[in-house]
């Protein structure tokens, strides 16, 4: 069995330099993800949540602070960390089986183990019978299943998901969220999901990390103490969703307050000391 990784992020910062100007993207992010945990990261666009994921997978470098997997500093990519992007990114000239096998090209498995792992992961994502189909013959949801299988086939410790269902229709998305939950339980590995869909974040996550933009930082971490399978229509679910959404609202209020140079004795966000127009905007 693969073992699940512990991810430690401590005071992680990252800047881009654009036209000789330093642009902070991530500002002192601290987060610990325990083995086998499912963490959702939500935030509006520009909060650096995708950059955070790209740092963890190793596609971005040059960061300050700590980024450790099982105590080892993360440098570059590794088969221990799989990723699923928003677009499926399958190789169009390879069929389903061959695309998934790409994940094992550099794995230290014997040929028999590779073949078995590919078979198992095709079954895991429910694509039995489609082994020889080409990407142009698959629907968006099926392509994303192949992408998940490709990321998991080398049995990584951590799976990163960058808005994996963002481009899918609502029905397919809901179905794949259930599937992803099942896969997470079956594989028992650590998963980190970046999304802008609060319901998705609460449905899947053990904790939901709410990020604030410019520069990206952790606003709050909301634990989701609900048993699986979660009832999206349930009261407890709705409360947590409200809680997470309130963080967004707070963020919007803070931004509006700053823009209007509104001064008040109370700090923004404590109670409702806002002019009537702003209250309406919330």
């Amino acid at each position: 069995m693969p073992h699940a990784g512990t991810l430690q992020i401590g005071q992680l910062s990252k800047q881009y330099v654009v036209n000789d100007e330093t642009l902070p993207v991530l500002d002192h992010i601290t987060l610990t993800v325990n083995p086998g945990e499912f963490v959702s990261i939500v935030g509006s666009s520009g909060c650096g949540k995708s950059t955070l994921l790209r740092l963890i997978v190793g596609l971005e470098a040059d960061y300050q602070g700590e980024l450790l997997l099982d105590g080892q500093r993360i440098v570059g990519t590794s088969l221990d960390r799989g990723i699923v992007f928003q677009e499926h990114r399958l190789f169009p000239w390879l069929n389903v089986e061959q695309n998934i096998a790409l994940g094992l090209l550099n794995a230290r498995f014997s040929e028999a183990e590779k073949a078995q792992s590919v078979r198992e992961h095709i079954a895991l994502v429910g694509l039995g019978g489609f082994e020889t189909a080409y990407p142009h013959q698959l629907s968006g949801g099926m392509s994303q299943r192949v992408a998940i299988a490709r990321a998991l086939v080398s049995r990584p410790e951590v799976l990163l998901l960058d808005e994996p269902f963002g481009a899918l229709d609502a029905l397919t998305r809901a179905h794949l969220q259930q599937e992803l939950h099942r896969i997470w339980q079956a594989e028992g590995i650590t998963m980190i999901l970046v999304t802008h869909d609060v319901e998705e974040a609460v449905y899947l996550g053990d904790q939901v990390v709410v990020m604030a933009p410019r520069p990206g930082r952790v606003r709050r971490i909301v634990p989701v103490g609900l048993a699986h399978p979660r009832d999206r229509a349930g009261l407890a679910f709705a409360r947590i969703k409200e809680d997470v959404l309130a963080e967004f609202a707070g963020e919007a209020a803070a931004a509006t307050v700053a823009r209007h140079a509104f001064r008040h004795d109370d700090a923004p966000g404590s109670g409702w000391p806002l002019p009537s127009g702003l209250r309406f905007a919330l």
């Binding site: 990114r89 090209l105 550099n106 142009h136």
Partner: protein, 259 residues
Amino acid sequence: MIATSIPRPLRGWVVPLLLLALWWAAVRFGWSTSPLLVAPGRVWQTGVEQVASGKVFAALGASLWRDLVGFAIGATAGLLVGALLGTSRFAEKLIGPTFHTVKQISLFAWIPLLSVWFGLGDAAKVAFLSLAAFFPVVLNTFEGIRGVPAELLEVARVLRFSRAQRWRRLVLPAAAPSIFAGIHLGLIYAWLATLGAEYLLVSGQGIGNLMIDGREHFRMDMVLLGVFIVGFVGFALNAIAGRIEARALAWRGRSVAQF
């Protein structure tokens, strides 16, 4: 409707057959008495004679051989230069501007230079054909390699592909449609240039020379026979290239737009 009552595979034949009928009628009913107008039957007869005497095969063989040698040299050089330009930004900066300037020179402008360097024989013709095939292959190879999606290159990094794996598994297959298009164009250009070379560097044997001889002896049947053969060879080369391309790129499905 007439258009739909003709079986699909035969539709392409409609225009040529109509033209042939028009030609035949023009001779039969004496619409023109110019000696430039020869009967279709006369051209056919000349064709049969030329085939029987083997002259036409000698001419065609000489042309095709030059075509293939020139194409092979030009396409191979084109693949190498295109791959170099596509892979290395440094090479692009160094060679790119020169290449893009040189490619603007009309192919025929090379003829005087080539004839001085290589004489009027086969060597000059082959060099000319190589140039004709070279440019489209370089351009399309370059664009194919540069056009490999950055998203897929990231996947290659995540999956820890080695340099060789990246080339074999990603760059070459991704660039293949464009590279094939370049080779296909090179093949057609080389054949067009084969005839051009025979006209402009008149010496030796070839289909072009057959036509020039025909013109000089006022044998319109010979000239027309040459035109038909040249057209047929071009059509065949195009069809063969298309067949190979379709086979190699079967993964694209029916739609090229999928990629």
